[in-house]
Symmetry: C2
Subunit: 144 residues, 2 copies
Amino acid sequence: MEQRAHFITLATPDLEAVRRFYVEGLGWEPRLDVAGEIVFFQVAPGLLLGFFDAVKFDRDLGGAGDAPVAPSGLTLAHNVGGPQEVRDLVAAMATAGGTVLKPPQEGAFGGVFHAHVADPNGVVWEIAHNPHWRVDEDGTVRLG
Amino acid sequence: MEQRAHFITLATPDLEAVRRFYVEGLGWEPRLDVAGEIVFFQVAPGLLLGFFDAVKFDRDLGGAGDAPVAPSGLTLAHNVGGPQEVRDLVAAMATAGGTVLKPPQEGAFGGVFHAHVADPNGVVWEIAHNPHWRVDEDGTVRLG
């Protein structure tokens, strides 16, 4: 696995409070703002910080049914080139001691093919192929 | 506040599990590994992901005594140029609606001068002056 995170995503009870604090209060500019769903800010070259409506966050991580690790309110995302790469990396992470919370599948949000894997401390990684995501040469992240 | 995170830090019950999964299992190389305390991996240009012993994580965020927001198991860090800049930014974040969990002071770890501020959803930012931290032109993070 390349030593890289592409998204940091936080479950967020109050998206309006995000806008008031970061945008109005601190002057940040969203990279993408989807009403009632998610607000993304670029916070490092090639890295987006997402504030994701908590109800939709839980739904996005659901699906395993008997997952032994509950959603933690945080995901780290690692993007790869295609669905087969998602499957291969998830298998490698399971071999390394990870717990597959959601097997590789089409995601409910964002048009991704993805899976969720918890590390041994319960930190959740989303392994994804996202055809709408790219990073410009200067590090700027583009979505869609 | 510059739209930037410099560290993502996670409270971690089992540091040995971090080494087995990320280093031995996935082949990652720590940027800094302090036994019994913290392991840092660089996961984006200029960005470190820290796995911080959970007991020391809680101690690092303590000190306010009657903090209305409990440690969340996650901090985002934003580094500035000196102690006065820490004080000024913490004041600006409080004005923007943030909750000061730990007023500006010398930190217990890492030789930093820092403060902790929760955003309206309880996400904890560490605002720090860290004289041992720098970022090379190619994005590589140096500590000490």
